[in-house]
């Protein structure tokens, strides 16, 4: 019963209910978490026999000196810095536009949200077909306007731009839904009072809606950044199983995949996974810190 004290018998009974979740979690979340830390320190590791001969920092030293890893970090950072602000700004604009109870708004909401339920790989293959040099839709449109066709997928100057466009397209839907949820939760009375005081639509937005929407915005900023730190499927599909021309779209996740699966260097892959986790984790903490400070200011 709920308010009685636990006994040995009630603990055993509860254990039966808990066992399935706990066993799977121990095997596939707790143990690999420990193993990720251990593996990244294995330096002479025989993957087939599971024999470890030495421990140390060699994997991290390797990453520190590996130009390919530097490229992966650089590409990932550029991608996040490019995609995150644009996605957040665009989705806020669209959410503000859709925040009406028209029938059309409902239909448009569904359309904007479609990418969320769509397989990233499948739609990535469609994007590949759109961006192709020969027969691709985009170049056909450019040529209709008398412009030169661009080899989007094989020119290193454009490859990261193409990936960013795909990531923005994919990320909009969730953020719009979240902004709309945030807008729905706002207390309409503030906006009504501001209107009575003669505030213009722009003043209402900057002085009422935006400050109230800030917590949701911070959440969306973290979420979008974290998602784009972990981009892999889009790259794989856009370039049919490669990291783009001259590794132009090599992301940290793609590096991890390449090291572990293609090159069989699992310990280096584990170390790079840990570094990716540090990036994402510190970002979350940083944004959380800003969030708390903002909370104090507004009070």
């Amino acid at each position: 019963m709920i308010n009685s004290r636990p006994t040995l018998k009630s603990t055993l009974r509860a254990a039966l209910y808990l066992a399935p979740l706990l066993i799977i979690t121990l095997m596939f979340t707790v143990w690999p978490l420990i193993n990720a830390l251990l593996m990244s320190s294995y330096t002479k590791y025989n993957y087939y026999t599971n024999q470890v001969r030495a421990l140390g920092w060699a994997n991290f030293a390797y990453l520190w000196h590996d130009p390919t890893f530097h490229l992966a970090v650089r590409n990932t950072l550029i991608l996040v810095l490019l995609v995150m602000p644009i996605t957040v700004a665009l989705s806020l604009l669209i959410a503000l536009g859709l925040n009406r109870s028209e029938r059309l708004a409902g239909l448009l909401r569904s359309i904007y949200f479609l990418p969320f339920v769509t397989s990233t790989v499948a739609i990535g293959l469609v994007w590949n077909w759109i961006f192709r040099l020969d027969g691709g839709l985009l170049n056909a449109i450019l040529e209709k306007f008398g412009l030169h066709a661009i080899d989007w997928l094989n020119d290193p100057r454009y490859a990261l731009l193409v990936l960013s466009m795909v990531c923005i397209w994919q990320g909009l839907g969730v953020n719009i839904i979240l902004f709309l949820a945030g807008l729905n939760h706002l207390d309409q009375r503030y906006a009504q009072v501001a209107t009575l005081d003669g505030a213009t639509a722009w003043q209402r937005f900057t002085n009422v809606t935006w400050p109230l929407l800030l917590p949701m915005t911070v959440l969306i900023v973290i979420n979008t950044s974290v998602t784009n730190f972990k981009v892999f499927d889009q790259v794989y599909a856009l370039f049919h199983g490669s990291a783009g021309p001259g590794n132009a779209d090599l992301t940290m996740m793609y590096y991890l995949y390449q090291k572990s699966y293609v090159e069989n260097q699992v310990t280096i892959a584990a170390a790079s996974g840990l570094i990716l986790f540090l990036f994402v984790g510190s970002l979350t903490l940083l944004t959380y810190g800003i969030y708390r400070r903002l909370g104090r200011w507004s009070r």
Binding site: W129, L178, N223
Partner: protein, 276 residues
Amino acid sequence: MTKRLLNGTRILCLLLGAGLMLLPFIWMLLTSLQPASTTLSVPTHWLPQALQWDNYHRIWQAAPFARYCLNSLLVTSVTTAGQLLTSILAAFAFTHLQFYGRRILFGLLLALMLVPGELLLIPNFVTLAHLHWINTYAALIVPWLASIFMFITLHQAFRAQPKTLYYAAHIDGASDWQYLWHVLVPTNRPVITAVALLQVIGSWNAFMWPLIVINDDRLRTLPVGLMAFTSEQGTNYPLLMAATVCVILPLILLYFGLQKYLVLGITTSQSKGKSL
């Protein structure tokens, strides 16, 4: 007057944006109905000259496509059902039963929410290799049978349930097991549907994990199987697009059927910091 003009511009911009969102879907559909020979010819045909429904017939012969479909259905349904079962049982124990170490255990599980799946990818792969599970259905399913996120969401829902129902059921002679499946689960159907739907989307579209744990063509799921339609020599785009339609369409239909649950699922998942 300016107000109407502004409103008109707003709607026009939104429609234009929606058109851009739909563009890849439309292009996919149009290409999937083109005959294979025309697609790489340089003056692009915008509309198919004659609708080639035959492409949809041919994909079933071009690759073990039916097998990929069955694999995806199997993995998605078993993973989702398994996660629901483990999460419902654990959430019930944490909210309705008394046991030693309840608070500590809950705190530990909550902390595990912060661990990103990407960190676990490599060690899990190594674990499976040592279990000799690479290239088995078990590799696709077993590691995903528990979801901390789903557990926490259901825990929150079950905790909000008035306990008077539980006492009343007990007085009427119902066991815990009966109360769980005949009262608690049916009354929480919306939130259960929402988390299940998120998981169905996640499993159906999962790519990186099936890519690294499966080499055998007969065990591939749809997203990985799609890559079989691309080739170095030249991809047959109408066939590839017909195949992508088959991967994307089921979830779009599901989405239109269960849209409100999906919105519920996303808004609850965000408050728990799960990145989608």
